[in-house]
Amino acid sequence: MALSGKAMHRWYLIHKWTSLICTIFMLMLCLTGLPLIFHEEINQLTRAPEITDLSGRASTGAADLDAMALIAKAEKPGWQLMFLTWDKDSPLINAVLGPTMKAGEGDVHFVPFDRRSGEQLNAPPPNEGVMYFLLDLHASLLMGLPGALFLGLMGVIFTLSVISGVVVYAPLMRRLPFATVRQTMSRRIKWLDLHNMIGMVTLAWVSVVSITGIVLTLVTPITAIWQQEQIASLKLTYGDAAQSDPADPVSPGQVLERVLTAVPDAELYFMSMPGSPYATPHHYAMGMRGNTPLTEHMVKIALVEAATGKLISIKDTPWYISAINLSIPLHFGDYGGLPLKILWAILNIAAIIVLGSGLYLWIVRRNKTREKRLQSLQAQLTTENPS
């Protein structure tokens, strides 16, 4: 790590400029991210649907599912059913309708049902309210795909700032043991030590959260690529015959029945209608979660031909889709109970302190350089005009 003074200065400049560019956005992400860690608890308290206890009732059969689809469609005439989603921890099924099959999350309409009775439930829509606003701000600055991609870029710049921060840490610590916070009169030195210590201790966490965050900004393009690949590979296997528009497509209930025959103990996750994201224009896609803690974030996809109801394949998603599915828990910290969420929140606050102290250190240093310049200018003036 014996970098020359010149090289080290270059690293310092990288640290300064990358940090200056992204700090304001990172502060916004930390502040909005803090309540989002507890999204389950907050939503449970404020927006959970009233579900009466029906324990012992069997789960939904195919007929119920088709009835749900009809009830949901009647609520928004002219809209299309895009997805049916199964909640993981409650007996809830959401029918998701959109004005078009490609509608964004902010534009869709949710109709919740109790999966045991098929009864429609009353619940505030999950794409409204303070928590949804915070998530939308956090994920895309309220600007959809361009906003998300911009934040992804900020994430990349932040990662550069973290790497350069680790490099410029060395010369500052040549004579200090790890985690020293010097007790001096200088506020600058105290905050410099805190910036270095907290930054270094939270390095692994910050790296995991920022890299998974960057991955999540790419969900839309990555999903589109996957859909194109699926369509292309189906065309290759079945030719154009399988690509014709079904005049009389099978119903969601029939698709569910077909999939459950093949996988009786399936952990249902979602059903994507033909033409919507995650499916193809001519196939239903049924997503299933894994049954173990390690695989519950992974998804298996069953493709069912809309025209015939034929089960085409049951496949693991490719690595890049698994990367997205693993990035969600690793980003939000909601995969290890409440204690992990609390640790996540403390680390989030620590990151805010590192960002804030970094900004403070830059301002102090800037004033100092300014003072120095002023002094040398004055000295110059007095030597030039001795009077």
Binding site: A170, P177, M200, A204, T292, P293, P329, L343, I346, A350
Partner: protein, 61 residues
């Protein structure tokens, strides 16, 4: 942590070995809860909690 003489210049390894250890511990904590429940969750809280505790202790010096 306080073995190095006060004025001797420390090598890169000496500077980075403790941060490396602390961050490996944090990484074990982050991954453990993903692998399983129960014991794995507990291991996760323990590892990540230790790094957070270290940080708070150092800040309070």
């Amino acid at each position: 942590m306080n073995h190095s003489a006060k004025h001797a210049s420390r090598s890169g390894w000496q500077i980075y070995r403790w941060p490396l250890l602390v961050n490996l511990l944090a990484l074990v904590g982050i991954v453990a809860a993903l692998i399983g429940n129960g014991v794995y969750d507990f291991l996760s809280w323990l590892c990540l909690g230790t790094t957070v505790g270290l940080m708070i202790k150092a800040a309070k010096q």
